[in-house]
Subunit: 371 residues, 2 copies
């Protein structure tokens, strides 16, 4: 099937770009002698995860327990649920372990550490470290760190497996050097915390760091055992804007149709709006503001200056600065939109329509959405 | 099942509030002697639609052809697909008619009007009128109006059924009087256009207007045949902010758990983030800015001053201005978040967990998401 035969809006994934992005990251991380644990929250797809882990891998990070269950059923056993768990989710995580998952959960607080210890499951636990984002996690030098580990292991059932940190503040960097500096802070926080746990007698096999900018620009990963980037599998306009990649790396786009056009107002309306693109405006703070997405032709070649300027639920409005560009946007034309944020945009769809560098749909891959 | 037994995040719908909102709107519109055609794009649920239309109704507006197909299968036959159709969707709309739908499609341009006329289906068509939002639609006094109608009917198969307009700019109003003024502009545009079509010899049985603010505050609907509000079935914090309702009318909320807490930073982290709440920030421009949602206790009573200040994919960060409020937000606590925009937030979920004014889950209603 040709792309132009798909009803719109539809989610398009370029397998060739996914392979290039994931091969590059795997080679880069492995060259540092460190394991790669792709964060599956972006694609939520077993097919994408298999490409990302390569021949021998089966390690993933996940953002929901539903993802954990889905990927387990797809043969991925080495999983980290990389969001602080709440006590009422412990039954679910224990059930996943019973099904064969080597699931690691994370926490940063004593209430949950106590609940884990008291729970009748044998949980494998990472302490979350704050390396500067100040979202969640304890400081690497906090006295809480070892006390949390002691609390988790108090009952003798659950076990500390190491530390995890995420330099989410790398998204605020605007240059490779700045991202590298954050990567170093991420590494030092994780390694420091891991060493403190080891000194306190905990085995600590896992010292996990990761975000796409820090994994891309980090200079050394000494002492780290694994890196967990996520959005790099697809890339998006925000990652282009902050220098993680170039636009030719963006593997995800939304196929849309031109449904209305107004030459006086110089606008064109697409059938991809706030639901089809998401309301993420992460490029708003960048020099490189693409509104709600960069517009490209059916084959994926960007139209300079054309973006989705505003959205309603099912309408995406495009301001046509150069009237000559109306010729590319006649009623019924199908175009592609590269979104700001791949994780948010793809979540609106049940499946990817897969192309392989061209305009032929070669496959359809399902997503594991929701909770 | 008690609300607190649900895994989080979860979508909660208060049937009692849906009934109150929909009873009020139906009574109001019917008191004007006008038909109500609820826009099903907000709830995308047959159960909600049945409450909204009342005993005798089966008329809905829909925002996707997938909704049209779903609601048809649920017994709703009188449907308007209220987004300008693109030519490649005409096969789908014709197929719906073959299945028994009395489906009306809309357009505002000659390319589509010609495609409709040339298509082998017997389409029923409304011309979209621009009443001031300047999104789509032709002006009520435009010479294009009657020419579009002539174009649609040229082949003798498809038929003009009237006009449709949507005063989306009512969302920019901040007082009942201002919304009433937009409602009057909406009414005048639709009635003027409808009269012009009638004068030109088109039967024009449908003169359709509608948005929640204009349906709520409009003073007269003389000459209009139907009103199509959408979000009023659930309401949301944006509608509270612009004066469409009070907070006790908001029927939709997201159940979330406290997963982390930091007294030094005065933050609490929820397991409802950008995916669970959406990245809609429509209250940002209001006096009444609730971030990504207003926080309430498990029974739905708002906590003054507590909102979701920022979101990551699966994290919602709450700034706790008054440290005494940490007592309501201990680790593992379940709270509810009233979202900015009900249409966007509910789209992330497969189903509503239904309560009836209390905290007992009495039912689960599925949604028709995607395209």
């Amino acid at each position: 099937m040709h792309l132009s035969d798909l009803p719109t809006p539809a989610l398009i994934l370029d397998r060739q770009r996914v392979r290039a992005n994931t091969d590059e990251m795997r080679a880069r991380v492995h060259a540092h002698g460190v394991a790669l644990r792709p964060h599956a929250k972006t694609a939520k797809s077993a097919e994408v995860a298999r490409i990302a882990v390569g021949d021998k891998g089966d390690a993933l990070a996940v953002s929901t327990l539903r993802e954990a269950s889905y990927f387990l059923s797809q043969g991925f056993t080495d999983l980290i649920y990389a969001v602080c768990i709440s006590p009422d989710k412990l039954d679910m995580s224990a059930a996943l372990a019973t099904r064969g998952a080597d699931l690691k959960i994370i926490t940063d607080n004593f209430a949950v550490a106590g609940a884990i210890s008291n729970h009748d499951g044998n949980h494998r636990v990472l302490i979350e470290i704050d390396c500067g984002e100040h979202r969640t996690g304890v400081a690497a030098d906090s006295s809480d760190l070892t006390e949390l580990a002691v609390t988790v292991e108090r009952s003798g059932r659950s076990k500390i497996m190491g530390v995890l940190t995420h330099a989410g503040h790398s998204y605020a960097t605007r240059s490779p050097d700045a991202a590298a500096a954050v990567a170093e802070a991420e590494r030092v926080a994780a390694v420091t915390a891991g060493q403190r746990l080891r000194n306190a007698g905990f085995e600590t096999p896992i010292i996990s760091v990761g975000s796409t900018p820090t994994a891309t620009h980090g200079v050394t990963f000494d002492g780290v055992t694994e890196v967990r980037p996520g959005v790099y599998v697809f890339q998006d306009m925000f990652q282009v804007g902050i220098g993680s990649c170039c636009i030719n790396a963006v593997a995800l786009s939304v196929l849309a149709s031109v449904i209305a056009s107004n030459s006086e107002r110089r606008t064109v309306m697409l059938d991809a709006g706030g639901l089809a693109l998401s309301k993420d405006r992460s490029t708003a703070g960048l020099d490189f503001d693409v509104g709600f997405g960069q517009i490209a032709d059916l084959s994926g070649v960007p139209f300079p200056g054309l973006r989705v300027n505003s959205v309603h639920q099912e309408h995406g409005e495009v301001f046509v600065e150069d009237p000559a560009q109306f010729a590319d946007l006649t009623i019924g034309s199908k175009i592609r939109v590269f979104p700001n944020h791949a994780c948010m945009t793809s979540a609106a769809y049940e499946a990817y329509n897969v192309v392989d560098g061209g305009v032929e749909v070669i496959d359809q891959w399902r997503r594991c959405n929701g909770w």
